[in-house]
Symmetry: C2
Subunit: 542 residues, 2 copies
C-alpha cells in the first residue's frame, strides 16, 4: 500500500520560490567586493536568479552541466547558486585558498564548462587558464564599470548577462536525486575528491539545520554567514536562510575584526557562523577597541574545535551564546551541534563550558556511532574513543567518478576519519583525526586534547602534537610549539603547565620550538608535513 | 548527473531510533486513562514499540496491513503508532467522537484487521462489533489488572502482548513512499474520505514543523500535545517531539481546565497545542481559581480561528505567546503559523493582535495561493478573498480507494475548501468555508468574520451566520445566536453592536435566537443543518 501524498520533489529552486513569495521584502545585505554596501531582497534575488538561469541556458548550461564559482559570500554568488541549480546544472564551488595545481586538477576533473568569479580572483585563473582547455567562458561577477583588464579569454560581464534577459522562464524540471552541487575535499593525501550534493540532500539538510535545536534561523533573525559558500556549503545557510526568510548579511571579502564588527552592529546581526580563526580576529579587535556586541545572540562555531578561552569570552564577556558545531564537506556539512539538554542551563558556568567544548549531539537525519578498530560499538561514557562513523540522507555515499573507491562499509556507514568520544547524554567530542592519534604501547593518545591544553599557556601561540617513533612504546607524543612574540619559556615550564591536566602517560616526551607550523589551504595543521619534518627526531626518552 | 549522497529513506522508525539513541533519558509523562500519572522515557518507549511490533507481526500485521487505534494521547498510543508503522503497517486513527455509523463505515472501508483501543471506548465498539466482520482482534491498551468485562470477541491485553516479546528485532524495511498512516476527514457531505500518509510525508512534515519559526520544539522544551493523536496527526508532534528529543506530556482523557492546568504547572510545560475549545475551558478555570501559568511560554492554537479575546487574554493577562496556526487533515496537518516577521515585535499591542488573529504564513514545503472562481491568482493585499489552494510533499494527492475522484487540478493544486485573504507580508486569513460564503448581489460576504464579531458581544455565547434566500440579492446574511444564560438582549441591541465594525452591506438582515447550534463530531458548526433548519425563513427585508 502506497501513501497518497502529492508527488512534490525536494528541489533547491523551491527554496528561493518560497522566500520570494512569502519573504519577498526581506533584505540581503552585502559588503561587495568593490567595497560598498549593497541592499536587495528575496523578490529581487529570485528575479535575477531566473534571469541568470536564462543566460546560462543560452551559454549551453543544461542538466548535469558543471559550472564553477570562485567567489566570496555576496548576493551575486547567492544568485549564481540558485541560477545554476535552477537551470539544472551543478554548482562547483572553488576554494580560492587551494594551490594553483589543485585548482587545475579539480576544474578539469569536474569538467567545469563555465566559471563565475569575483574580480579579486582574476589573477589566480589568469595564471592557470592555459591548463583549463574545457572552460568555455569566464563570467566576472561585476558590472561593466568594474570589469578589470584581464588576459582571461572569453570573459563575460555578470550584470550584462542578467540585463539581457526578461526572467520569464521556469526552472528546469529535475528529479530530487539529480546532482546540483559539487565541492572537493582537500584531503591531506592523494588528490582532492568531489562530494556531489543532490537537490534532495540540500533541502533535507536545510530543514534539519533550521530545526529549533539546530542553527534554528527564524524570519526575524539577521544572519551573518561568514563561513564561506566556497567551503562546506556555508553550513547550509544558503538554503536554510531563505527557507526561514531571515535577513542574510553577506560579508564579501573582508573578514577582519573591524569589518565583521561593523556588520554585526550595523546590521543588527542576531546569529552568525564561522570558524575559530575569524572569531579570534574579532575578539582581538573587541579587546583592543572596547567595542561590544549589543545585538548578537548566538554564534555557531565549527570547522575546528572551539578553544575554551574563546567560548568563555563570548559567553561571559560579551553575553553571546556559543553553539559549538561539527561537520564536514561529506555531511553537507552539519553533523552535530552542542545545543543544551534540559537542566544544563542551571549548571555552573564552568560545568556549562565543560559541555560546550564538546561538539554536541547529531541533528535528526544524521546517524552516528564510535567504534574500535574491530568495528565494535563503543559505550557512550565520554571516555572510550574510537572511529566516528555516520550515516544519513545528506551524507556522501561515493565521490565523483568513483575516486577513493567504495567509501561505505557494508552497513552503509561512512568513516569520518575523526576519532571521538560520546558521553552519557549523547554529546560527541572529537579527540583527534584517526591518522593523527598517537599509538603508545597499544593505547591511543589524543593529539588534539594536548594541543588544546597547550594553547592555554599564555606564551604559546600555536601548538601541534605528533607521534614520534619510540623503541619501547612504538610512538610517543612530541609537542611542537610556536611561541608568542617576545616570550622565551623553557621546555620544562611548558611541560609543567600540562602536568596534572592530563594522564601521566599522555605527557609529551619532549617540546620542540618552531617559528611556524604548516597549514593546509583550509587552515588546518598539516600533520603529515610535520611528521616528515620530525621523522628522524630523537626523543630524550628513546 | 546524479547526486552521490547516501540512499537513506525518510522513515518513521528512524525518528524513534534517533530519540532513543540521543535522548533516551528524556521523559514522557502520561495522565493514564486509569487515572494515575505514568513516567517513561524514549529509550523505554523505543524498546516497547519494538516488542509491540514483534507482537503485531505475530498477529499477522505485515506491510500495508491496516491497524486501527481508538485512543487518547498516552504513552501506549504513542508506542502503538511506532510499532504499527515500524512493522510496515498502516496506523488508522479512529475518532471516538464520530457517530457509530461513521465508525462502522471507515473501519470497513479501511479494512482494519486489528483495533487497539482504550478501555474507555469499549462500549462504542461493543455496540458495532457485529458490523465489523474483518476485525480479527481487539487489543485493549491496558494491563491485565485493568482489563474490563466486555462482550468484544477476541480481546487481547496490550501489556501482555508486550511482555511476551524480547524486542530483539529490526523494523520492517519499507520504501519512504509506502503508506504508514490513515485518517478520515469528516466531510459535512458524503462519506468520510481517507487521507493516506507516507513515511516520507510524516518525516518531511515533522522537520518542517520543527523549524524555529514553526512549532519549533527544542530538546529543553516540555511539550503538551492536547490536540488529539486521533485527529490530524496531533499536528505532527508525535514525530516532531522525538525528533527534537523534547519531553512530551500526554494528557490522556481529561482535557478540562483543572487537569490541563495541573499538567501545565506540574510538568513545567513550555509549549502546548490545542483547539480554542480547550483553551476556553482553561481560561475559565484560571479566572475562577486565580491560578497562573508560570512556566508556559507558547501556545499553538488551531483547528478553528482563535477568538481575539482569547488571544488577548493569553498574551496580556498570562504572558503567554500565542501562535495562531491553520491546517487540515489533508495537510498532515500544518499549513501556516502566524510567527512574526521582523519589526512586528515593536508594534503596539493592538497592532500585534491584528496580526495574530490571522492564520499566518505557510511553512516551507507548503505552496499556497488564493484564486477567484475563474482560477485567477488574487493579489496579496489582505482584502481580496478567494479559494485557498495548496501544494506540497505532505499534502494529499488523492483519497483512499479513489473516493472523491481527482482532487488536484491540472497543476497539482489541492482546493482546501476554505476561502481566505493573503496580506502584503504573506499572512493568510481564513474568511470562510467556500460553501458557507454568502453571495449577495454577486459579491461575497464572510460568515466567519461576522460570527467572530458577534461573539464579542458580552451576552452572545455562540453565533453562526448563514445565507438565506432573498428575492433581490439572491442571499442575505442571517445571524443566529445562542444567548448567555439569563440574558435577554434584543435583536436591535445585537445589530447595534455590529454597526460600524463591518461594511453596511455586510450587516445581517435579521437575528434569530436559538437554544442550541448544531455541531459536527469534531466540534465545527453544522452550517448545512442550519441552512436546512432556516430554509423557509423569511427575512424582514425580503
Amino acid at each position: 500500500m502506497r501513501g497518497l501524498m502529492q508527488s512534490w520533489p525536494l528541489t533547491v529552486p523551491s527554496v528561493i520560490d518560497h522566500a520570494a513569495r512569502w519573504h519577498g521584502e526581506r533584505e540581503m545585505v552585502t559588503r561587495t567586493v568593490e567595497g560598498a554596501i549593497h541592499r536587495t531582497n528575496y523578490a529581487e534575488l529570485h528575479e535575477r536568479a531566473r534571469k541568470l538561469a536564462q543566460a546560462l541556458r543560452r551559454l549551453g548550461v543544461g542538466k548535469g552541466q558543471v559550472v564553477g564559482t570562485l567567489a566570496w559570500n555576496t548576493h551575486r554568488h547567492f544568485e549564481a547558486w540558485y541560477a545554476i541549480m535552477g537551470a539544472g546544472g551543478v554548482c562547483h564551488t572553488l576554494n580560492p585558498r587551494l594551490f594553483a595545481e589543485q585548482l587545475v586538477y579539480i576544474i578539469n576533473h569536474a569538467e567545469d564548462r563555465i566559471i563565475l568569479l569575483d574580480t579579486s580572483f582574476v589573477a589566480i585563473l589568469e595564471s592557470i587558464q592555459t591548463q583549463l582547455p574545457n572552460v568555455a567562458a569566464y563570467v566576472l561577477l561585476t558590472d561593466r564599470a568594474h570589469m578589470p583588464d584581464t588576459t582571461l579569454s572569453n570573459t563575460l560581464c555578470y550584470e550584462e548577462l542578467i540585463a539581457a534577459e526578461d526572467g520569464n522562464c521556469d526552472w528546469t524540471p529535475v528529479d530530487e536525486d539529480d546532482a546540483c552541487g559539487l565541492c572537493y575535499t582537500s584531503g591531506t593525501t592523494g588528490n582532492p575528491k568531489g562530494v556531489v550534493y543532490s537537490h534532495r540532500s540540500n533541502v533535507i539538510h536545510g530543514l534539519a539545520v533550521n530545526c529549533a535545536d539546530g542553527i534554528g534561523a527564524r524570519s526575524v533573525d539577521n544572519v551573518l554567514p561568514i563561513v564561506p559558500m566556497f567551503h562546506a556549503n556555508a553550513w547550509g545557510l544558503v538554503f536554510a536562510g531563505p527557507m526561514a526568510g531571515c535577513k542574510l548579511v553577506m560579508p564579501g571579502a573582508r573578514l577582519d575584526g573591524e569589518n565583521v564588527c561593523e556588520l554585526l552592529t550595523g546590521e543588527r546581526v542576531s546569529v552568525t557562523a564561522a570558524v575559530p580563526t575569524v572569531w579570534m580576529m574579532l575578539l582581538q579587535y573587541l579587546e583592543k577597541t572596547g567595542a561590544t556586541l549589543p545585538h548578537l545572540k548566538r554564534v555557531i562555531i565549527g570547522g575546528s574545535a572551539v578553544p575554551r578561552v574563546m567560548l568563555e569570552k563570548f559567553e561571559r564577556d560579551y553575553g553571546v551564546e556559543v553553539v559549538h558545531a561539527w561537520g564536514m564537506t561529506e555531511l553537507s556539512p552539519v553533523g552535530t551541534l552542542a545545543s543544551f539538554k534540559s537542566g544544563m542551563e542551571n549548571l555552573s558556568f564552568d560545568e556549562r563550558m565543560d559541555i560546550k567544548v564538546k561538539q554536541g549531539r547529531p541533528i535528526y537525519s544524521v546517524e552516528m556511532k564510535v567504534t574500535d578498530d574491530a568495528g565494535v560499538d563503543l559505550p557512550h561514557d565520554g571516555k572510550a574513543f574510537g572511529h566516528l562513523l555516520v550515516r544519513g540522507p545528506a551524507i556522501a555515499g561515493a565521490y565523483l567518478k568513483g575516486e577513493g573507491g567504495q567509501i561505505l562499509d557494508e552497513e552503509g556507514w561512512f568513516d569520518t576519519g575523526d576519532v571521538a568520544t560520546i558521553d552519557e547524554l549523547g554529546f560527541m567530542q572529537i579527540t583527534d583525526r584517526a591518522k593523527d592519534v598517537i599509538k603508545s604501547g597499544g593505547e591511543w593518545i589524543s593529539s588534539i586534547e594536548i594541543e588544546n591544553l597547550a594553547v592555554g599557556h599564555p606564551q604559546v601561540q600555536e601548538a601541534a602534537v605528533i607521534g614520534v617513533a619510540h623503541p619501547k612504546w612504538d610512538e610517543r607524543p612530541l609537542l611542537i610549539v610556536v611561541l608568542a612574540p617576545g616570550t622565551t619559556p623553557t621546555r620544562e615550564e611548558i611541560l609543567a603547565y600540562l602536568e596534572g591536566k592530563i594522564a601521566k602517560w599522555w605527557m609529551p616526551d619532549d617540546v620542540a620550538f618552531v617559528a611556524e607550523i604548516p597549514h593546509t589551504a583550509t587552515g588546518k595543521i598539516q600533520k603529515l608535513t610535520l611528521r616528515k619534518q620530525f621523522e628522524t627526531y630523537k626523543l630524550p626518552t628513546a
